[in-house]
């Protein structure tokens, strides 16, 4: 077997038969091998960055490894953003690229780049293969590392001569790999004791809250989480990466927390006296100012994560548990059931969960059916209409920015892996190629891309990919003619000095015309300018046979609110009319004694319709 045959054999044997890629000089031997491989399908993209994002989207939608391949030099450096994105969001991606032949490495040959050096900081592990006998081992090891423990991208640099070199070993592909330096820790006896301690805290807490992060989806622990929540009746807030791990319809799910989170979610975390954090790394987007987190200084924090380094990195932890979340939650369930079965142990404190229902209903739903002040659609309207037709298996993929946050804040999703969005790195241009990967992974699901006009233009050439490969994505371009999120910050924090965020021409005309653009790629599309046309356009997109582009013309200066004050605590935010508000302008502080509980007014302080887009009134 030669190098290329070893790779294709491994890909077939492991069931990784969908690749995203782009050819070039240094990877030609491998592509030549693909020519005669009918079990392997390669989706030809139009830019190597998209190959990486599509593999990432494939991985997120399927829970399996995403694979991409490019040529050397620029082909490989174009992958760096995609690898960084996958690394930040713990997505299992295997990327390999051609390299100049071994005897040319280091000589600055044509299309040579030090990609092992370039990808070092943005991959879980990387390799350069200089001996074809080691190729099989490296590929198996790479796949093992990418998909186990905390998943992440692994990169392999593959010199051209290695792709054609004949292997001297009879069996160059090891069945399994083990590494003494890498034991993706799953569960230890120590964790059981820590879980016991956690339960002591949670069952004695007045106001416990669960923060569900992306790790719940990665560990496929959503069933266990749901059972635990139902048993313990603890409200759940989720991070952006944790969207979908529990259904938004679930009575105990309050919604997203953090920067653009729900007020009720931020309130619950601010008031909690015990926090169970599952597969979340307490990023600055969810904590606000760390000196004010947690909101209750005496609150106890329990953190379960598979990555030791994430425990206590940003926030001091009272009960650290390093474990595979699925196994940890199973142990949690066992212990909870045993405790609840014994009446001596008492039950959960009841007052809090009686209040959750009211809390859940307490966020005002804005009336978004009216046009905004310039007569255009308000973005909330799009999300409300999309909510009406989303089916549980539909997958929502987003770009990055305001449109992403509208979607994260308002959309009701019901299953894990139906929300695909660039969290940690915040990569504009991720969404469209990722939606391609998601659709390829789940051809039976409808895939919706929620994109801003800015982000979409970062990888719009992939319209050619969806056309050529007959991949259907329903594209919603929320066009506010600005780089909206930056403009929003300029409005709120830089006195409306809109420095280079307007994407329209001086005369107000906007280019490109996205409907004509779709047409140029042989695709259909429509432009929507009035709120009452939104629903119809979405249905039309769903009915379309191929990728369909909806350009939604929205209020140029619409803001996604609430928004935490930059540098402020989790309870301080900009609300409608751009006022600085405290969460306690909406909610009474929770009572801490029985007497206070008896007098507590459950209704909110402010009945004022909140979360309303500021453009209804000025």
């Amino acid at each position: 077997m030669n190098g290329s045959e070893i790779i294709t054999k491994i890909l077939k044997d492991t069931g990784n038969t969908t690749l995203f890629g782009y050819p070039g000089g240094a990877i030609m031997p491998f592509f030549d091998q693909l020519y005669s491989e009918d079990q392997i399908r390669l989706i030809l993209v139009r830019h190597e960055q998209s190959a990486g994002h599509a593999a990432d989207g494939f991985a997120r939608a399927s829970g399996k490894l995403g694979v991409c391949v490019t040529t050397s030099g620029p082909g490989a450096t174009n992958l760096v953003t995609a690898l960084a994105n996958a690394y930040y969001d713990s997505s299992p991606v295997l990327a390999f690229s051609g390299q100049v032949s071994t005897w040319l490495i280091g000589n600055d040959a044509f299309q040579e780049a030090d990609v092992v050096g370039s990808t070092m900081a943005v991959t879980k592990q990387n390799y350069q293969v200089k001996d074809v006998d080691k190729l099989g081992r490296v590929f198996k090891e790479a796949m093992y590392i990418a998909t186990t423990g905390r998943p992440g991208p692994v990169f392999i640099d593959l010199p051209k001569d290695i792709q054609t070199a004949d292997c001297t070993m009879a069996d160059p592909i090891p069945e399994t790999v083990e590494l003494i330096s890498y034991n993706p820790r799953v569960f230890s006896k120590g964790a059981s004791l820590q879980i016991k301690r956690s339960l002591d805290i949670l069952m004695n807490a007045q106001y416990p809250v669960i923060i569900a992060g992306g790790g719940v989806a990665l560990a496929n622990a959503n069933k266990e989480l749901e059972e635990l929540v139902n048993l313990m009746r603890i409200p759940v807030v989720y991070t952006m990466m944790g969207k979908g791990v529990l259904s938004d319809d679930h009575p105990y799910v309050l919604g997203m927390l953090g920067m653009h989170g729900r007020k009720r979610s931020n309130f619950a975390v601010s008031e909690a006296d015990a926090i169970l954090a599952l597969g979340t790394r307490f990023s600055d987007r969810i904590t606000g100012d760390l000196s004010h987190f947690p909101g209750q200084p005496n609150a106890k924090i329990i953190q379960i994560d598979i990555d030791t380094a994430e425990i206590g990195k940003n926030v001091p932890i009272d009960v650290p548990i390093v474990a595979d979340l699925k196994l940890a939650l199973q142990e949690f369930l066992d212990q909870v059931k045993r405790r609840l079965a014994d009446p001596k142990n008492g039950t959960m404190k009841s007052w809090w969960y009686k209040y959750i229902k009211e809390l859940k209903e307490s966020s005002g739903i804005p009336d978004a059916s009216r046009p905004g002040k310039t007569g255009r659609i308000v973005p909330e309207k799009i999300m409300f209409e999309l909510n009406k037709i989303l089916r549980p298996d539909d997958i929502v993929v987003t770009e990055v920015g305001q449109a992403q946050m509208y979607a994260a804040h308002y959309l009701n999703l019901r299953k894990p892996r139906t929300w695909i969005s660039s969290g940690g790195l915040g990569t504009m241009g991720f969404g469209f190629p990722a939606s391609i990967g998601a659709k390829v992974a789940k051809p039976g699901s409808e895939v919706w891309l929620v994109a801003g006009d800015g982000s979409f233009q970062m990888n719009l050439h992939e319209l050619a990919t969806v056309k050529q490969n007959d991949i259907k994505v329903n594209i919603i371009i929320v066009n506010n003619q600005y780089l909206g999120m930056v403009r929003q910050w300029q409005e709120l924090l830089y006195e409306k000095r809109y420095s280079y965020t307007c994407l329209a021409c001086k005369d107000g005309h906007y280019y490109p015309d996205f409907v004509k653009l779709a047409d140029a790629y042989g695709l259909e599309g429509t432009r929507v300018e009035k709120p009452d046309q939104v629903a119809e356009a979405l249905v039309q997109a769903r009915k379309a046979e191929q990728t369909y582009v909806i350009e939604m013309m929205v209020e140029p200066e619409s803001n996604i609110l609430p928004m935490l004050l930059p540098g402020g605590a989790l309870n301080q935010f900009y609300s409608r009319r751009k006022e600085k508000k405290s969460i306690y302008d909406w909610y009474y502080r929770l009572p801490r004694t029985d007497a206070e509980q008896n007098d507590y007014k459950v209704e909110r302080i402010s009945k004022e319709e909140d979360d309303v887009n500021v453009f209804f009134e000025e």
Binding site: G117, M120, Q128, I180, T308, A309, G312, K313
Partner: protein
């Protein structure tokens, strides 16, 4: 720590320190008792939380096989240093030789204008030796090995 003896491993380790804003005071690298593995000793500064993060992040690197924070109380530490010093006259030469003797060092090279001295000891010993030498003659060059350290007694960082 013990690491695989692969190309690029040092870069992964030092890159992690640089990327996360941790400081390396000194570092020493060499073969370990086991073929295919190197032993690296890094001296880093930081509060307890920082040191904990450093250990965790090092542990996360797949090429790092074992990491431990060596408690100075339970650790033997040595640093080797070569010092080339300009010598202006015979009296200075004599003074330097006396110091070398006190510090149990060695003179390993002599010319009419310079002397090269070898000293092995704890970091403090090496520091004070260099201080004293610099009072006698102008120091031309210093090469320090970085700290080498092993647990006292039977405790050790090995693969077994």
């Amino acid at each position: 720590m013990l690491v695989y003896d692969h190309p690029g491993v040092m870069m992964k380790i030092t890159g992690m320190f640089a990327r996360r804003g941790f400081n390396i005071s000194n570092i020493s690298v060499g073969h370990s008792e086991r073929p295919g593995f190197s032993r690296i000793t890094i001296m880093a500064e930081g509060d307890e939380a920082t040191i904990e993060q450093i250990i965790k992040q090092l542990h996360k690197l797949i090429d790092v096989v074992k990491v431990q924070h060596l408690d100075p109380q339970r650790t033997t530490m040595r640093e080797a240093s070569l010092v080339k010093v300009n010598v202006k006259d015979n009296q200075a030469r004599q003074e330097i030789m006396t110091l070398v003797e006190i510090y149990k060092g060695k003179v390993i090279d002599v010319t009419s204008k310079t002397m090269t001295l070898e000293i092995v000891g704890t970091q403090r010993k090496v520091d004070s030796f260099i201080d004293l030498i610099s009072e006698i003659g102008t120091i031309k060059e210093i090469a320090r090995s970085g700290v080498l350290a092993l647990y006292r007694g039977e405790e050790s960082i090995t693969l077994d």
